[in-house]
Amino acid sequence: MFAIEMSAILPPQASEFAAGYDLFFWYITAVIVGGAAVVFAMLAGFSYLYARRTPTDKTPRILGSTKVEVIWTVIPFLFFMSFFVIGVRLYNEQVKIPPDAPEYFVAGKQWMWKMQHPDGVREIDELHLPICDERDASGTLTEPGVKITATSEDVIHDFGVPAFRSKFDVVPGRYISVGYKPTKEGTYHIFCDQYCGQGHSQMIGKLHVLSKANYESWKQGVYRLPGKNPVDGSPAWEGRKLFLKLQCNSCHNNEANARAPQLAGMYGEYRPLEDGTMQKFDDEYVRRSIRNPISQVAAGWKTIMPAYGSSQVDEIELRNLTAYIKSLKKGERLPDRTEMAPAPVGAPVQASEGNK
C-alpha cells in the first residue's frame, strides 16, 4: 500500500493529461497575473500620484479615449479567445478515447464507488490501474490507456481524480466516459465532487497506478468466483448468467416464433423503431430498453417486455447484461427458451432438476 502523496501546494501529476493541463493552467495564470498587474499598477500608481493635496485641487475634464479603450478591449479579447481554443482542444483530449482502450466500469451509489475491471474483477472505493509507459521514439505514448465509463445508481455524483486533473459528473440514467493515461505509479485520491447528500465527503476512494507486472500480480491475488466449472468471470459471462436468471431467454431466444427480437449481431447496428425512427443499438439503447422498454420498441414487435428497475437489476448487472448482448456475434445462438440458470454452487441437489 502506498501512502497518498502529501502535498497541498502542487498536486501530483500522474497522467499524460495532467502534464498538458498544468501547462495550460500556468499559461492562463501568467496572462491573468499580467492583466491584473496592469490594473493594480494603475490603482496603486494613481492613488499615489493623484492623492488629494488641497480641497480645491483642479482636475482635467477627461471623458475617455477611444484609442485606449479599444486597446483594453481588443487585447483581453484576443487572450480570452486563445484560452477558448486551447481549452476546447484540451477538453477534447479527455473525452476522445481510443477505441481499443479497455473499459473499466464505475457505478456511483450513495456513498460508495463500485468498480468493475474489463475482466470482471470488482472493487469498492478502490481502483487499480496499469501504468501507460510504452513510448515510441519521439516519446509519444503508444498505448491507448484506459476508458472509464460511469453511471449512478441514485443521485448525481462526480468522479474526480485530482492527480489526473480529471473529473466528470456521474449522472443516473446515462453513461459518461473519459480516458486516462496514467504515467506515474502511486496512490491518488478519488473524490466525489458533486454534492450527493449526507455522506458526500465520505464518498472518497483511492486510485492505485501500478506497473504492468504489479497490476497482473495484483489481479492474481484477487478472489475469483469459486466453483467446479471454470468461469472466466468476465462481464459478458456474468451477463449471460443474469440473462438466464432473469429469464430473458423465455422471449429472446432462437425459436421461430420467439416473442421478442433477436439480439445477436445487433450491437452497433441501426434498427427501425415502431415510431418510424432509426435507432443505433448502443449501450444507452440497451440500457433504456431494459429500464423502460416501452419507450423505444423495435419495429414490428409488441410492447410486452416488463421494465426492470434498479431494484431488480443494479447498474453493474445492467452493464454486464449489456456486455453479454454486445458479445453476441451475428449468427451466434441465444440460449434456448428452456435453458435455466445454473444452480448456485453449493445448493442442494434436487431430484428433479430443471423442469417443473
Binding site: 490594473v39 494613481f46 493623484y50 482636475t59 475617455g64 476546447v88 492527480a163 454534492y195 465527503s201
Partner: protein, 588 residues
C-alpha cells in the same frame, strides 16, 4: 446669489448647495420625521422608507447567513469536522448559500439603494408604482419567512442549487418550503424590476436624457431587465421540482424517465444571469463613488453604460458553462465556452475604465473609496479566475472544487459586497443626515479587505489541489490552508460587525452631514439630507451630463447654456440642450 439655482443637476462643485440656517434646519420636515409610529413605516408608500425597511431586513439576513458560515468555517478547522455532524454541516452550508443569495445578495442593492436612489437620481417624487413597491417588500418578506421557518423545522440540505434527483427524491429535508420561499421571493424581484424599469422610462425629470443618466441607473436598469426576464424561469423550475416531488410525475428523475440535466439547464438559465443581478448594481455603485472621490468624469461613459447592457444580454447565453462536465455534450459546451469568453470582455472594460477614471484625479480615501478600491482589486481577481472555469479544458480539474468557491466569493463578496459597503457608506449621510466616524469606517474597510483576502486566497490553492466543495471532512494535507482560511474568515467577520456599531452610533452622535458632504454632482445631492417627503421642493431640471467634477467654473458652463445667475432655470427647460427628449416629471 448662486443659491437661486437650487436644483441644477450636476451642479459643479464651485456652486455651493443651499443650506438652511440651523434653527430652520431643526424644524425642517423630511421623510424621517414627517410622521411617526410603526404604521407610518409599515404602510408607507415612500420609496425612501421602503428602502430603509429593506436595509434593516437584509442586514438581519446577512447576519443569519454569516452565522451559518461561521459554523461551516469552524467545522473545517479539523479534517474530521470540529463541531458538526455531517447532516448539520450540510444544512449549515445550505442555509449560508440560500440566505445569502436569495435574501441578501439579490435583493439588497435593488431593494435598498435602488429604492432609495432611483427616484432621487432621475429627479422623480417617487417610484412609478409606489404601492406596488410596498407590495414587493411584503411579498419578499413572506417568501423570506418560508426560509426562516424551514430553518427552524429542520433545515434544508440540498445546497442552494437543489439538484434533482437528490432534492426531488433522496433528501428528507424541507425542499418544498424552501422552494416556495424561492418562488415567492422571485415575485418580489419581478415586481421591483418592473417598478424600476417603469421609473427609469417614464419618471425622468426635464433634461434627464438617457445619455445623462447616472451609471448607477444604467446598471439598475440592466439588472431589472435580467430580473424581469429570468426570474419566471426559476419559478417554473421550482414548480416542476415540486410537481415531481408531490405527484411522482417524472420530470427530472431518471428513474421516472425524467432528465436531471434538464433541471440544471433551467436552473442555470436563471442562476447564471442571477450573478449579474447581484454584481451589476454593485458596478453601478462603483461608477458613482469612484468619480466622486477622484473628482473626475467617468472614463468612457458610453463604454461603461453599454457594457452593463452587454453583460445583461450576453449573460443570458452562458448558463451552460456550469455544466461542462454534466454530460451536456461537447459542441454545446463549446458554444457556452466561447460566449463566456465574450461576456468576460465587458467586465474587463469596466475595470479598466474605473481605474482610468482615477488618472489625474484628486483622490481622497474615505471609507466609500477604500471599499471601492477593495472592489477593484478583489473583483479583478474574481473576474479573471472565472476564466479558468469558463474555459472547457481548465474547468475539468477545477469544477466543483474550492477554486470555484474562492472564485465566486471574490466576485460576490469581493465584488458585490464591497460595492454594497461602498454604497452604504457613500449614501448613508443622504439617508440619515448624519456622518459616521471617519476613523472607524476606514478601519473597518481595511479589516474587511485584509480578512477577505486571507479567507479566500488559500481556497484557490485548495481547489487546485482538488479539495471538493461541500466537504465537512477532508484529506489531512488540506488542514493548514483550511485553518488559514477560517482565521481570515473571523477577521472578515469583525470587519462586517464594526459598521453595525459605528453606523448605529452615528444616528445619535454623528454630526450633521449637510446636503452634499462629498461634494458630489448627482441630483440626489441637490436636495437636503435627509430628503424631504417628496424628494425635491421643485421639479429639478438637468442641463449637464453626469460627473462634471472637473469643470473649473460652473458659472461659465451655465453661461454657455444661456443661464445667468438670478434667472430661474426651473422655468427654462427649453435651455436644456437635449430639450424634446425629456420626460415630464411625475405629478409635478
Amino acid at each position: 446669489m448662486t443659491t437661486k439655482v437650487p436644483y441644477l443637476h450636476y451642479t459643479p462643485q464651485s456652486i455651493p448647495t443651499p443650506e438652511l440656517p440651523p434653527e430652520q434646519e431643526k424644524k425642517r420636515k423630511h421623510y424621517l420625521n414627517h410622521d411617526y409610529g410603526i404604521l407610518s413605516w409599515l404602510l408607507t408608500v415612500d420609496h425612501k422608507r421602503i428602502g430603509l425597511m429593506y436595509l434593516v431586513t437584509a442586514s438581519v439576513f446577512f447576519l443569519f447567513g454569516g452565522l451559518a458560515v461561521m459554523l461551516v468555517r469552524l467545522n473545517l478547522i479539523v479534517p474530521t469536522g470540529a463541531i458538526l455532524e455531517l447532516d448539520q454541516y450540510n444544512k449549515a452550508f445550505t442555509a449560508h448559500g440560500t440566505i445569502m443569495i436569495f435574501l441578501f445578495l439579490i435583493p439588497v442593492i435593488p431593494g435598498v439603494l435602488g429604492n432609495f436612489l432611483v427616484p432621487l437620481m432621475v429627479g422623480a417624487k417617487d417610484m412609478a408604482f409606489p404601492k406596488l413597491n410596498l407590495l414587493s417588500y411584503y411579498v419578499w418578506i413572506s417568501g423570506a419567512l418560508f426560509f426562516v421557518w424551514q430553518l427552524t423545522v429542520g433545515g434544508l440540505d440540498t445546497g442552494w442549487t437543489l439538484y434533482p434527483p437528490y432534492s426531488s427524491k433522496y433528501s428528507h429535508t424541507n425542499v418544498l418550503y424552501a422552494g416556495l420561499g424561492i418562488f415567492i421571493t422571485g415575485f418580489a424581484s419581478i415586481l421591483t424590476a418592473m417598478n424600476i424599469i417603469a421609473t427609469v422610462h417614464k419618471m425622468r425629470c426635464p433634461g434627464m436624457t438617457w445619455s445623462r443618466l447616472p451609471l448607477f441607473i444604467w446598471a439598475m436598469y440592466a439588472t431589472s431587465l435580467i430580473q424581469l426576464l429570468s426570474t419566471p424561469v426559476l419559478a417554473v423550475t421550482v414548480i416542476l421540482l415540486a410537481t415531481e416531488k408531490l405527484t411522482g410525475i417524472g420530470i427530472f428523475d431518471p428513474a421516472l424517465d425524467g432528465d436531471p440535466i434538464l433541471f440544471q439547464h433551467m436552473f442555470w438559465f436563471y442562476s447564471h444571469p442571477a450573478v449579474y443581478i447581484m454584481i451589476l448594481p454593485g458596478m453601478g455603485v462603483i461608477s458613482e463613488v469612484i468619480t466622486c472621490f477622484s473628482r473626475k468624469n467617468i472614463f468612457g461613459y458610453k463604454a461603461v453604460a453599454w457594457s452593463s447592457v452587454g453583460i445583461a444580454v450576453v449573460g443570458f447565453l452562458v448558463w451552460g458553462h456550469h455544466m461542462f462536465l454534466a454530460g451536456q455534450g461537447y459542441y454545446l459546451g463549446m458554444l457556452f465556452s466561447i460566449l463566456t469568453m465574450l461576456v468576460a470582455v465587458p467586465s474587463a472594460i469596466k475595470v479598466f475604465n474605473w481605474a482610468g477614471t482615477m488618472y489625474k484625479g484628486s483622490i481622497s480615501f474615505e471609507a466609500p473609496m477604500l471599499y471601492t478600491i477593495g472592489f477593484l482589486v478583489l473583483f479583478t481577481i474574481g473576474g479573471t479566475t472565472g476564466l479558468y472555469l469558463g474555459v472547457m479544458g481548465s474547468d475539468i480539474h477545477l469544477h466543483d472544487t474550492y477554486f470555484v468557491i474562492a472564485h465566486f466569493h471574490f466576485t460576490m463578496v469581493g465584488g458585490m459586497l464591497m460595492a454594497w459597503m461602498a454604497g452604504l457608506h457613500f449614501w448613508w449621510p443622504k439617508m440619515t443626515g448624519k456622518m459616521y466616524s471617519d476613523f472607524w469606517s476606514r478601519l473597518a474597510a481595511v479589516v474587511t479587505i485584509v480578512g477577505f483576502i486571507m479567507t479566500f486566497m488559500p481556497q484557490f490553492v485548495l481547489g487546485f489541489n482538488g479539495m471538493p466543495r461541500r466537504y465537512p471532512n477532508y484529506a489531512p494535507e488540506f488542514q493548514f490552508l483550511n485553518i488559514l482560511s477560517s482565521a481570515g474568515a473571523s477577521i472578515q467577520g469583525i470587519g462586517y460587525v464594526m459598521p453595525l456599531f459605528y453606523l448605529t452610533a452615528s444616528l445619535f452622535t454623528g454630526r450633521k452631514a449637510g446636503s452634499n458632504p462629498w461634494q458630489a454632482t448627482g441630483l440626489e445631492w441637490q436636495t437636503p439630507s435627509p430628503p424631504p417627503m417628496h424628494n425635491f421642493d421643485a421639479t429639478p431640471v438637468v442641463y449637464f451630463p453626469p460627473y462634471e467634477y472637473a469643470l473649473p467654473n460652473g458659472l461659465g458652463m451655465l453661461a454657455d447654456a444661456g443661464i445667468t445667475p438670478g434667472s430661474n432655470p426651473a422655468l427654462e427647460p427649453a435651455f436644456a440642450p437635449a430639450a424634446g427628449q425629456h420626460e415630464v416629471s411625475h405629478g409635478s
